[in-house]
Symmetry: C2
């Protein structure tokens, strides 16, 4: 290629794009993809015989089977001829027909309403009403291609530039920091407290807000991920109340990222939605709240289909109109995702043809996730120098790793974060792909990695042993 001046080069690309970082699919994953190709060569000299991708919550990549019921409905929505063949249970036929009947000309191939097919939104609203004992209106539901694009739309409406701040947890899921960087907004960080199981500390939140205000930054957005990503923490009702009070005090829009709401493994730490808690408070009508959910996690794990929703609470018509306009620029969320989101919110009931089989499948997935969460925590904590909080929710462990001083120096001298070097070495030596803590943000001088709980139960011991082996050899190498 000749050396001519080009726009799409590091010298010329928009700096806000260059500055955005997204570690979950960064250099380590790119290297993992190379290794995957090398493994296919039977003459390879790699020190492992399989790669285990623990970098992202992608259940079906790790062998999880899709649930039968939603997939039958989806296949019938795409090929309604199947409805006449007598091959599907009656509730599958009824549900597919109900959804198709609410699309233009009985087809999911038409652009839908930009907020989504009305009956699908109604099912979401019913689900929320029942879950939270509140009145949810389908007009406040926006279906979306997973939670990520919905989060991006609302952030874009709230953040006009560096004068506007978003309060993000530290550590956080890097979608937030990357999007904020693209919008040139200011990140205000509140530290989660590792010692208390990654609890949310309201004083730390207020300190971050006041620091922002002092620097001329108006706090506009308060992001809470519950259950936590990457931390796995589930918030108590009191903490949620405190967060909402703080949002009210400083006029911040609350982003309740609740995509892991069914991934809750500890009975003592149940999931409480922000929607439900807000409804019980005397500021119930005073806080703008956007709640996000997704089909990618939970027991569905339908990452590739890209579906989800957001619900607007206390957002007035002006705000809703602007959000509608923004989503309408991309026409509509994909209809496969819309269908699955609706199905997730309207599961078979006792007596329905698929009730027993679906419930058995879903429970088996849930119970296996719970066992794996416990197994992983226990086994990581057996390793000297690795310390993991209990994974009470979500799909991840985020342990602290103690690294030899020399390892830190070597890494920094090579321009790498120490936990990046650790994670890259773990990949090269054991074929285990994790994400360094530095990709999520962490307290200065502390190091972590994030690993999913998703390896199948039969290979989970292998994963834990590989991490253990590697950790000791890494520490020895840099002693």
């Amino acid at each position: 290629m000749k050396a001519v001046s080009r726009v799409l080069t590091n010298a010329n690309i928009a700096p806000q794009v260059l500055g955005a970082e997204y570690a979950c699919r960064g250099a380590i994953v790119t290297r993992a993809n190379q290794l995957q190709r090398e493994l296919k060569n039977t003459n390879n000299s790699l020190p492992f015989d399989k790669l285990v991708m623990c970098n992202i919550g992608n259940p079906q990549e790790m062998g999880a089977k899709a649930l039968t019921y939603p997939r039958q409905i989806l296949s019938a929505c795409f090929n309604p001829e199947l409805l006449k063949m007598g091959i599907y249970p009656s509730d599958v036929v009824q549900k597919a027909d109900e959804i198709l009947s609410d699309t233009p000309c009985y087809s999911v191939g038409a652009y839908s309403h930009s907020q989504g097919i009305p009956v699908c939104r109604q099912k979401v609203a019913n689900f929320i009403s029942e879950r939270d004992n509140v009145e949810s209106n389908y007009e406040n539901i926006f279906l979306s291609d997973g939670a990520s694009p919905a989060i991006k739309y609302v952030l874009q409406a709230c953040i006009a530039g560096p004068q506007h701040g978003a309060l993000l947890p530290l550590p956080q899921y890097p979608l937030y920091s990357a999007t904020l960087s693209l919008l040139q907004g200011t990140q205000l960080s509140y530290a989660l407290d590792e010692k208390s199981g990654w609890g949310l500390d309201l004083e730390s939140c207020e300190a971050a807000i006041l620091e922002g205000i002092k620097n001329g930054v108006a706090p506009r957005v308060f992001v809470i991920i519950n259950p936590g990503n990457p931390t796995g923490n589930c918030l108590t009702e009191d903490t949620i109340k405190g967060a909402l009070e703080l949002a009210k005090k400083y006029n911040m829009v609350v982003f309740a990222d609740e995509v892991y709401q069914t991934n809750v493994y500890d009975d003592r730490r149940p999931f409480h939605s922000f929607r439900k808690v807000l409804a019980t408070m005397n500021i119930a009508e005073d806080v703008e709240l956007i709640s996000f959910h997704s089909i990618s996690k939970g027991v569905f794990g339908e990452c590739g289909i890209r579906g989800g929703y957001m619900e607007l609470t206390n957002v007035n018509e002006e705000g809703k109109e602007q959000l509608y306009k923004m989503v309408s620029i991309s026409l509509c969320p994909n209809t496969a995702g819309q269908v699955i989101a609706a199905v997730m919110c309207d599961l078979p009931k006792v007596g329905d043809a698929s009730y027993e089989s679906h419930t058995a499948e879903a429970n088996a997935v849930y119970e296996s996730l719970q066992r794996r969460a416990n197994f992983l925590t226990e086994n990581l904590n057996k390793v000297e120098g690795i310390d993991s909080q209990v994974v009470s929710g979500a799909l991840y462990a985020f342990p602290t790793i103690e690294l030899p001083q020399r390892a830190k120096e070597v890494a920094l001298s090579k321009g790498m974060q120490p936990d990046f070097m650790y994670s890259m070495d773990l990949l090269e030596e054991k074929g285990i792909c994790v994400v360094p803590g530095s990709g999520f943000g962490q307290e200065d001088g502390k190091y972590h990695f994030r690993t999913t709980i998703l390896p199948a139960e039969e290979i989970m011991p292998y994963v834990c042993e590989s991490i253990e082996d590697f950790h000791y050899s890494f520490c020895k190498k840099y002693q």
Copy 2:
């Protein structure tokens, strides 16, 4: 709702969001949705008994049937059990199995590679190679949720702020102006020449560039929609060459929006891709070219599924890495869209089980679109005061309308564009939903509307008669 200070209000929403406009789903469509609900009330007093949505190229909303072959493949990808039932033709089974075999764990429910499932990208690359007699590499293909998000990603990388300009046609598809507004970039407009059938005038392009440069704006992006939206024009090879020369001269990234490439109805104006034309030029390696395609148009018309692709030509590794990072923040395009994009690029061949039935279905769709394009042009041109160029491509007519002076005054006195008032009245009186020319941009003092060619053949006469009736009564009213 109490009056408290809120972020998501017109007073506080990011001004670049407030300023973005997207007419294809604006106030007129919102009103059409209300009318649709009123129509369901059997006691309604509306002056029409059906709404005809001509506002957007959404074939399946207008009764177009989805093609059988891609839908069978898609349903099987979502429910692989169907592959074993003997209900699908052998090529459907083979194609679905081929795609599934290249997904993680044989499932479209896993996040794919952020650029898309490799075999799907390979099919796209093969399609381009064959169409254009060039070498296309699947590593330069990014599958996307329709063309729109791909266009947004690349614009975001190219435009950092008001110092950067994008050269857009006038009239243009408002995705471009809206996205540019969100990015706070500068719109540089080049007028399409209505008298020559909406031809692209290179002198007008260069004048717009020079005007931008004079004002301190660096032209970075050159958007060409071919076949044109809303204009329906197909560019000649010479014009494409001239545009590429201009892009080279001013170092602009060319956006070739070719989503209507199979919607070409006039043998004298065949489609030429920018990719193919560039390859024949001595600047073949010097122009950064991004070509966009979609499953939403053509004969597939699969708007709701949201699928498409972009191909990068002459974009170096740095640029590709940044685009990869941006798409990876949203994980991956939805897999249903990926599957259909792959199928669109790998149709049944002579001898395949579905070849005859698929070809017959696809040809019938194409021929009907061609008849409707001609019928619409002819019948619009029969109306005195409506003047439509030949629809040689795409899915739209964009006629000039001559409006009485008083209509213009009345509209402007109400704060409306005259063609907005005209279109709204057409909706209220006849139930025909079109988009005013002002939503796309037009020469000062001229007025248009955009209507699709998609009404079914049996109702096309009704649509044309309704427009004719309305036009005469509107002109009479404001005489």
